[in-house]
Amino acid sequence: MTALEITGLQKNYVDAYSGEEVTAIGDVSFSVNEGEFVSVLGPSGCGKTTVLNIVAGFVNLTEGEVVVDGRAVSGPGPDRGVVFQSHALFPWKTVLGNVVFGLRMKGVPRAERDAKGKEFLELVGLGGFGHKYPHELSGGMQQRLGVARVLANEPAVMLMDEPFASIDAQTRRKLQEDLTRIFEKRHPTVFFVTHDVDEAVFLSDRIVVLSKRPSRVREIVTVDLPRPREWRTALETPEFREIANRVNELLVDDEGAAAGADEDPGGATDADGTAVAGV
C-alpha cells in the first residue's frame, strides 16, 4: 500500500567556503501511498528539492531511511523516475526515442516498446509528434514529454521537481489540468515538489508543508476536494480557497518568524483532516 516511506531523514553537508557543517534537513518523515499524489511545499531554500534528490538517489542522506516499494534507496533507479524543471530531454533522440528510453534500458523488444511509447505520447497529447526532435517542441510540450518518458517506464513513484516553474502562466494552468487528468486516469504515485500553493492544492491528495532550515515537517494537509478537478470550478469552490489559505498561513507564519513579514498569521481555521506529523 505504501509506495514511498521516508523515516527520520536528515541531511548535513560541509560548506565549501567556510568548512562549517550545515544541517539542511533536520528531521523529515512522511509516507506516500500507492496511487496517491503528494506535494511537498516549503519556504524557499528549505531543502524540498534536496528531499527529492535524496529519494531519487542523486544525493546521499546523512541519517534516516528512504524506502520505495519495500526496498531501501541507494543510488538512482528506474523505480523512481524524475521529471525535471529543465525537462532534461535527450536532444539527440526523437520524441519517441525519448519516451522509450527507459523501456530500451530494460531490454523491452522494439515493437513492444514503440507501441507502448506511442500509447503514452497519445496520453500526454503528443501523438503524431514521435518523429520530431525535442527542440522543435514548445516548452509545455517538452514537459509533457518529460512526464510521458517517466510514466512509460512505470515507476513505483514519479518524482516531479518544480516541473512547471519555468513555463509561462497560461500554459502552466493547462499543464496542471493535463497532469490532473492523467493522474485521474492512470493513478500513478506522484511525489511533487513545488513552491506554488495553488498548484499544490489543485493537484494533490495531501500536502507536506516543510519548515525553514533545518527543515522539519510542519504539517501534512489533506486536500479532499472532489475529482475530476479543473481550474474554473476549483477557483470557485470555497473549500479550495480555504485549504490554500491554510497552507499559505503555515508558510507565512514560518517565513514571518525569519524575515519579519508584516502579514498577520492569526485566525487560522483548521481545514479538514490536517494532521501534525510525528517528529
Partner: protein, 295 residues
Amino acid sequence: MASDTAEPVRRTPAGRTPRKSGASPGVVRARKVWLWLTRRAAFRNLGPFVPVIALWWLVAEMGVFDEAFFVGPPRVVEEFGDLMEKGILPGYLTDSLTRLAYGVGFGLAIGLPMGFVVAMFAKVRRFFWPILLFFQAVADIAWLPIVIVWFGFSLTAVTFVIVYTIVFPLMLSVVAGVEQVPRELLRAARSLGAGRTRVFFEVILPGALPSVAGGVRTGLGYGWRALVAAEIIVGTSGVGFMMFDARRVGDISQVFLGMAVLGILWYALDAMVLAPFERATVERWGMVRSLEADG
C-alpha cells in the same frame, strides 16, 4: 538542399517585392536572379571567392608588383596545367594527402580514447592535466629537430608531428565536451534505468559531440598546417616541399599555386565532410544554432 534552414528567412523579402511601389521591373528581375543564385549551394560556397580572385587578377594586371614577385591567376592556372601534365602535382598531392591521412588517422585513434579516459576518470585527470598543458605548450614545429634526429627525413617524422599537433587540442576538447553535458541529463538517464556504461554511450558520447566535432575540426586544421611546415623542413616531396623548392629556384607561380591548392583542399574537406557531419548531428538536434539560420 543545404539551404533548408536559410530558405524561409530569405523568401520573405521575395514575396514582398512585387507589392513594393517604385521598383522598376529590371530591379525586380535582378532581385529574383539574386535570390535564385543565393539558394544554389555552388554559388553560396564559391561566390565569395569571385571578388577575391577579381581583385587578385586586377592587382596582377595593373603591374603594381614586379612579375618576379607577384603573378596573376592565368599564370597559376597555366602552371597548374603544366605540373598536372608532368605528373608532378598529382604525385606531390598524393604524398601530402597520404601523410595527412596517416597523421589524422593515428591522431584521432589516440586522441579520442585518451580524451575520454582523461575526462571520465577524475584520478587519471588530476595526474595527466598538468602534463597535458605542458606538452600542448611545446609547439609542434619545435619537435621537428629532435624528430629528424630520431626518425630521419621520413614519413614517420612527419606523421609524428601531425599526430602530436592533433592529439592535444582534441583531448582538451573531449574533456570540455564531457564537462558540458548537463548533469540533469545524466541523472535523467540513471533514473530511467541506465547503468554507467549505457550512460556513457547514450548520454555522454552524444552530449560531448558538439565540442568533440569542434575539436576534430580544429585538430585537422592544425594538422594540415603542421604538414606543410614539416614538408618544408623535412621535405623530399609534397605540396609544402614544392612551394619551398620553387622559392629556391625563383619560380613564384608554383608558390602561388601551392597556396591555392592548400586552401582549396582544406575548403573542400570542410565543405564536403566536416560541415555535412555537423549539419546531420548537432545542428539537427538543435544543440548549436546554425550559422546559416542566423544570417
